[in-house]
């Protein structure tokens, strides 16, 4: 079985996995990093949203063999700077967004990437931009997510 080196949350880790195992399962089941959640496995619910080289992606739909050693993978566990939360995480707490919390790691990672994308494209982080985010929240926290994204983006 191939041994792979991954750059995960700022650390180099090695893991043995077949080529076609999706990155989500490598991260969760083999490396024990459980922030990214399974909600559908087909890139629809977005509960596993993480970052690859700073951009949002869904590891449930990427074979581990597609990831090179140079790719920086960041899950929710790697978003904060040590004990200092990322402004988006802080905005989530300030707005008391989470209910069950299952989708929220993916929501936060999506929000951070969406704000970065808007900045790059010179767009406002407004309702229209937020409505491009496809992550499902079955508790229905969407309205507080909107408030948190707007607040968090101001401090990013």
């Amino acid at each position: 079985m191939p041994t792979r080196t991954l750059h995960l949350n700022g650390e180099k880790v090695t893991v043995e996995a077949e080529d076609d195992v999706r990155l989500l399962w490598v991260i969760r089941d083999l490396l024990g990093v459980t922030g990214p959640k399974y909600g559908c496995g087909i890139n629809v619910c977005k509960a596993c949203t993480s970052h690859i080289n700073g951009k949002a992606f869904n590891p449930c739909s990427v074979p581990v063999s597609d990831i090179s050693e140079d790719d920086e993978i960041t899950t929710i566990e790697g978003l904060a700077d040590g004990d200092t939360l990322h402004p988006m995480q802080q905005a989530w707490i300030d707005n008391d967004v989470a209910q069950c919390g299952f989708c929220q790691p993916g929501q936060i990672m999506a929000a951070v990437a969406k704000v970065r994308q808007c900045r790059k494209e010179g767009r406002d982080v407004d309702d229209a931009a937020i409505e491009e985010i496809r992550n499902i929240c079955r508790c229905g926290t969407y309205n507080r997510i909107r408030e948190a994204i707007k607040a968090g983006s101001e401090n990013m």
Binding site: I42, I52, V62, L79, I93, F102, R138, N143
Partner: protein, 779 residues
């Protein structure tokens, strides 16, 4: 736990038990540090009795005097087992809540209740979820929006007793009159500014004997914690990925396990052609035929899913083989109970509505860990009903119930689903068969196609009217049977519900206890008939209310219309109470009822009364073609609810932030139920297999403007919150839609009969393959 019955201590005098204040019984428990307890029932000693003595089912409107919350609480009365609060030497206070938190915020609100009574900061209180405790009998179920209502007083009694003991101990040590001492942030303070931390008092305040003690509770006017907005105390864990759901637990050797399921709903395996081939696939460790399918255990879930996809299984037909939406609707129509007033005899307003199947999937799919070895089993799962689960698992495994340990883990949403423990039962069976621990997860396709659903139902309404009055209002609700075999949280009532005819009686009771009409409509009758169709059903953020209310509210608008009245003025006039008028007025004022709206857009109203609370919603909807047809990739757009103004009078509010969050969730649920989300039954199976088929509310459906008003209430007990946001909103959306398009809908969701906006996923293999093109969609 042994039960101690000693004579009550003599009544205490002084500040803490003023004459006229209600007193309650708590227990001091013999222990090296301070441990106090209370019965998880009401334990009032004397004083004004609460108005809960009305006989079940006899009053014309039972829910007004005695509703589901009372039933749940009173079903807990027969037991005398205790919930315990412990004061620790580190100055913290611990409590194991015999309930299940799936995002409702009851851990936070329980911390607040204890902190209030003991003068602590909220984070000085540690609340965990208790393992299954069969000795609590009925007392360990999380459902019917009952948690806060049923636990509020007992927890306060225990906390107040702990506080009394700490003050007494401090008074002795500080040599001060106890009446001069105060408590703040875990310190007991005397008037001179000296203080003692409660951790130091945990030993001195302990009791060497177990005894019953009378205690008075803190008066409401002194509250400083209850009623103040409090963020979730585990929010930091949630936003950093540290919160552990059952799938995140690292239990040694509990490897990922997935079940290959039949194409038919509840189909069962007959034979497998290639067991050994699949056993030799990469990562796969075990493959076994079990009662619900073929279980594959592997190093990763991905490899277990690959194994499931490779299996060649011959299946037996399912429980609804060959049935579809139309055939079930026909059976429901045939089972509708007759209306008393004949059609056409007098002036009538009628409505007949169909509510299609809905999936109550939470985002966390059914998941459980089981480690069954010999005649012992250890189970981990997000169970709202762990005692019934423990009994059922023991029965399935053929071992004594006392040999089954059930750990209750926080769940990733429930909405009713986790009243059942389908994954835990399967995990136990699989673990026993494989002889190894398993972490069993339903994939999304399993959850959507084979998981529990909110039953399909019809609601028929006939009202008779004169020029200015409603003489009668008959509602006949006919539903595929809702599974209440979880009972009230213990194996005895669950067995009763499983007896022939048992479930119907139970369902009828739940219906009667929850469905009050908020209107004075003359002779008003609501009857339920249920038809068992062998579906896997359960409640879904309520059992009957969203559907029953939608039917009633739509007909209410038509009654107003018939009399030439404004829908708001009409509701005001016919509302049964000032409390209802209070929330109705609040939304009408804040939401600007009657403001001018563009063609193709409209406002709509709905009201509801349940769970000791009343609610009203004023909704604005946009049904213009440019909105309905706005393009969203693999999503459903449809009419957009653009604004919701919602008001609730919930009685005493523990945490306004938490209550508001529950209402927000209920409002987003109502949008899904009325506009976008349903399951389609075709040839004995449900078509929808994931969130790109089943259209729960997404960011592009949620209202850009949302205003939730918590109306001041003088009720001194907390009502239910978990389900209270849905019904009034659902009715209001239906009415807004009808006014915007000029046509009253007769089925819900309104897009159910449209062509599928998706290509159905295959039934064999039962789980779609994970894509490999994820890197094409980065942003």
């Amino acid at each position: 736990m042994a039960q101690h019955r000693v004579a009550p201590a003599p009544p205490r005098e002084g500040l803490r038990a003023p004459v006229g204040r209600r007193k309650f019984l708590g227990y001091l428990i013999a222990a090296p540090t301070l441990v106090v307890a209370a019965e998880l029932t009401r334990q009032e000693v004397f004083g004004t009795s609460s108005a809960t003595a009305a006989p079940i089912l006899s009053a014309p409107q039972p829910p007004e005097a005695y509703d589901l919350l009372d039933l749940l609480r009173d079903s807990m009365r027969p037991t005398a087992n205790l919930i315990r609060i412990e004061v620790n030497k580190d100055g913290t206070v611990s409590f194991a809540l015999p309930r299940s938190d799936n995002g409702q915020g009851i851990i936070t609100s329980t911390q607040m209740i204890i902190a209030e009574e003991m003068g602590l900061d909220v984070d000085q209180v540690h609340v965990t979820l208790a393992d299954a405790r069969p000795e609590l009998l009925f007392n360990q179920i999380t459902g019917g929006s009952s948690t806060t209502f049923t636990t509020y007083t007992p927890i306060r009694v225990a906390a107040a007793l702990a506080q009394m003991r700490l003050l007494d101990a401090a008074a002795q040590l500080m040599q001060q009159d106890v009446r001069t001492l105060t408590a703040r942030k875990g310190l007991i303070l005397d008037p001179l500014g000296n203080s003692l931390p409660i951790g130091d008092l945990a030993g001195p305040a302990a009791s060497s004997v177990t005894e019953q003690v009378e205690v008075a509770l803190k008066p409401r006017e002194d509250f400083t914690v209850i009623g103040k907005p409090q963020g979730k105390t585990d929010a930091r864990d949630m936003v950093t990925g540290r919160k552990c759901f059952v799938n995140d637990l690292q239990i040694p050797d509990a490897l990922p396990t997935v079940i290959c399921r039949a194409p038919d709903l509840n189909g069962t395996p007959d034979d497998v052609d290639n067991l050994d081939e699949v056993r030799n696939m990469p990562g796969v460790t075990d493959v076994e035929i079990v009662s619900t399918g073929v279980a594959v255990r592997a190093k990763t879930f991905g490899q277990a899913i690959d194994g499931v996809r490779a299996l060649e299984v011959a299946w037996n037909r399912g429980t609804v083989a060959g049935e579809d939406d139309a055939s079930i609707l026909k059976k429901l129509k045939a089972a509708e109970l007759p209306l008393v007033v004949p059609a056409g005899a007098v002036d009538t307003v009628e409505g007949s509505f169909t509510f299609y199947f809905k999936s109550n999937s939470s985002l966390e799919p059914n998941t459980a860990i089981a480690d069954v070895r010999g005649n012992r089993a250890e189970i981990w799962g997000p169970m709202k009903n762990p005692v019934t689960a423990q009994n059922a698992i023991a029965k399935k495994l053929g071992i004594p119930q006392s040999n089954v340990t059930v750990h209750v883990i926080q769940g990733g949403g429930s909405f009713g689903r986790k009243l059942f423990f389908d994954a835990a039962l399967e995990a136990a069976e699989v673990s026993q068969k494989m002889g190894k621990p398993v972490k069993l997860m339903w994939t999304r396709a399993d959850d959507s196609r084979q998981g529990r659903v909110h039953p399909m139902a019809t609601s028929r309404v006939r009202a008779t009217v004169t020029e200015d009055s409603v003489l009668s209002f008959e509602q006949r609700h006919t539903s595929v049977s809702t599974d209440f075999t979880h009972g009230l949280g213990d194996a005895i009532t669950a067995a009763g519900a499983k007896a022939p005819g048992g479930n119907l009686t139970f369902a009828e009771s739940i219906f009667e206890l929850t469905q009050a009409s908020p209107y004075n409509y003359g002779v008003s009758t609501r009857l339920l008939n249920e038809v068992d169709m062998r579906f896997n059903t359960s409640s879904m953020r309520n059992v009957y209310s969203p559907d029953v209310t939608t039917a009633r509210e739509v007909v209410t608008d038509q009654l107003a219309n018939r009399m030439g009245r404004d829908p708001y003025e009409f509701r005001r006039e016919f509302a049964r109470s000032d409390r209802i008028r209070g929330v109705l007025d609040a939304v009408a004022k804040e939401g600007r009822w009657g403001r001018s709206m563009k063609k193709g857009t409209a406002q709509g109203l709905g009201i509801h009364h349940e769970y000791k609370g009343v609610t009203a919603a004023l909704v604005e909807i946009d049904c213009r073609p440019e909105t309905v047809n706005r393009p969203i990739r693999e999503g459903v757009t449809g009419p957009r609810v653009t604004k919701v103004t919602f008001a609730i009078d919930a009685g005493l509010v523990i945490n306004p932030k938490g209550l508001e969050a529950q209402m927000m969730g209920g409002i987003n649920d109502a949008i899904a139920l009325i506009l976008t989300s349903s399951l389609h039954l075709t040839d004995g199976h449900f078509v929808e297999a994931s969130w790109d088929n089943y259209f729960y509310t997404r960011q592009w459906n949620t209202p850009p403007e949302l205003n939730i008003i918590i109306v001041e209430s003088d009720h001194d007990e907390p009502g239910g919150a978990g389900e209270a946001g849905v019904a009034a909103t659902a009715g209001a959306i239906a009415n807004a839609y009808a006014r915007a398009v000029g046509k009253v809908p007769t089925y819900f969701p309104i897009n159910h009969l449209d062509p599928f906006p998706f290509e159905p996923k295959p039934l064999v293999p039962p789980i779609p393959e994970s894509p490999v093109d994820g890197l094409r969609y980065t942003y």
